[in-house]
């Protein structure tokens, strides 16, 4: 291999990739090291990056300062209900617009696409007023009810996936006189499993990271989610960066684990748009 080719195909790519990796990784390093510093080490000049000794107690302190277990539980309940809702509704609707030959399918698909770009703020205030009139403020209902009607993005994702499922699969069952519901439940749903896993994963991530929804609907601190709890922590213990970073790390860990174990599902969302037809 010539020197020029070696530079072009190996040295240059790796140099660039490593430089970018440093930019992407260093904030994580900073996050974890800060979470392990002692309070006076945080404000030491000149600052040191690696703590003198690891203060694992900061994590315990973060849990004791605010009820993180409670926030975690509240968040998980919301996530779970949303997942159930999306897994019920999104595949039904996707099936209707991709597998059933009826007049509404194209119209619904067009509207589903259009609503993906509709800013949620336009509906926000009337929705709040509806939920207030129903007495649902300070409950998880406003944050979860929407999932039972299917989110446009997941309907779109499942439709894309369904286009790739061979029709012969259901045709044979139809010949045998199976009803549409049976075909859906016993033949189509099982083939959709990987796509449904993607929907469940994204629903979880979406509900777990949501901030504005809980901020608007949950006033009672006992009902707060992790995002609200973390923000409240910032307010009340603003200068205690070591605890705040420990709390942030605790919150980020489930997302990082999900990412490591579910990488292929993340990749699917990337390709859903490129195979868009």
């Amino acid at each position: 291999m010539s020197a020029a080719k070696l530079v072009r195909t190996k040295i240059f790519p790796h140099t660039m990739l490593i430089l970018f990796s440093v930019f992407f990784l260093f904030p994580f390093v900073w996050l974890v090291f800060t979470s392990l510093k002692s309070p006076h080490e945080i404000f030491e000049l000149p600052p040191r990056i690696i703590p003198e000794s690891f203060q694992w107690g900061n994590y315990k302190a973060a849990f004791e300062t605010v009820p993180f277990g409670r926030y975690m539980l509240n968040t998980l309940v919301i996530c779970l209900v949303c997942i159930i809702g999306q897994l019920f509704a999104a595949p039904l609707v996707a099936y209707s617009i991709s597998r059933i030959p009826w007049a509404g399918s194209k119209i619904i698909f067009a509207i589903v696409l259009a609503t993906m770009i509709l800013p949620s703020q336009v509906q926000l205030i009337p929705q709040y007023i509806i939920f207030a009139k129903l007495g649902w403020i300070n409950t998880i209902l406003p944050l979860t009810i929407g999932a039972f009607f299917g989110a446009p993005f997941y309907i779109f994702l499942l439709r894309q996936f369904l286009l790739g499922v061979p029709r012969e699969l259901s045709e044979a069952a139809k010949m045998d006189g199976a009803s549409e519901f049976r075909i859906y439940a016993q033949i189509i749903l099982p083939t959709l499993k990987p796509a449904l896993a993607t929907v469940a994963l994204f629903t979880f991530v979406g509900a777990y990271t949501d901030f504005m929804g809980p901020l608007i609907y949950l006033n009672d601190a006992a009902k707060w989610t992790l995002t609200l709890g973390l923000q409240g922590f910032q307010q009340d213990h603003g200068a205690q960066w070591e605890k705040l970073m420990a709390a942030s790390t605790i919150m980020a860990v489930p997302m990082i684990l999900l990412y490591f174990f579910g990488q292929k599902y993340y990749m699917q969302s990337g390709s859903a748009f490129t195979g868009f037809k």
Binding site: P13, K106, Q123, I125, T209, M212
Partner: protein, 317 residues
Amino acid sequence: MIDSISGKTSSRKKGWTRREWHYFWLGLVFASPWIIGFLVFTVYPFFSSLYFSLTEYDLFNPPRWVGMDNYKAIMEDRNFYKSISNTLFMAFISVPITLFSSLLIAMLLNFKVKGINYYRTIFYLPAVIPGVASALLWTWMLNPDFGLVNIFLRWAGLPDPAWLLDPRFTKPSLILMGLWGSGAGALIFLAALQGVPQTYYEAAQVDGANWWHRFWKITVPALSPIILFQLIMGLIGAFQIFTESYILAGGKAGSGSSLGGPGQSLLFYAVNLYQEAFINLKMGYASALAWILFIIVMLITLLVLKTSKRWVYYGGE
């Protein structure tokens, strides 16, 4: 775009056969969750917010009709203009920078080198961190005295701005934070890049085109539909920036005392709307803001789509 539903659906003859009715009801039943949700949570709120925008409403007393007063008041509201100019800054400066960075990262990830999967994992990692946690992390990263960014800048002998405390640097802080998360966009570009036939590049190389030419003449046109998609989503996203601003400005849950940050430099459209609706309880006024938002977003989308005919190439045309 919408072509895949098998024949027979759009037969426009008078009177449907039994089979067609059968499928109509079946389709309706399967789609009913979405239809109900769409009517109750999209269509109804959409129009009722138009009604509320013509009233004065504080949630406790019944709405009072005020005609166009809210819209007139908005036209004289300094916060409104401040929020528009801050938001447009993000839309026209931050969005293109982030898009370019995503594209660059995607191209790096498209190198055929050893360990590329590890790099891909690292580049995407920041995108999975919850917005609140990453905003808190960056608040600390950008601490003027003790933050990592300024430690580095001082070490390199560069000026060390006060970042989140200086109105001139709050939005650049937000851009920096956005760049950190640009691996998400890169992943979508990467999937598209891998679909570009290698023969295009080989042919161009034979013709003596350099890297720069290949980028502008092959990569960008081939990816233009995805660039368009990400551009539109980015622009719409700019009008919805909320969490990052709320955390970076250090707002207090419930009181909203310091929404908008130093010199209102982080007062974005969605933040202003939230403030009017849920802190000042001016539901009518905020509904008018929501409708103006809707119109702006539609105009921008149409404008981008219109100009896109000149620079977006769809394969096979």
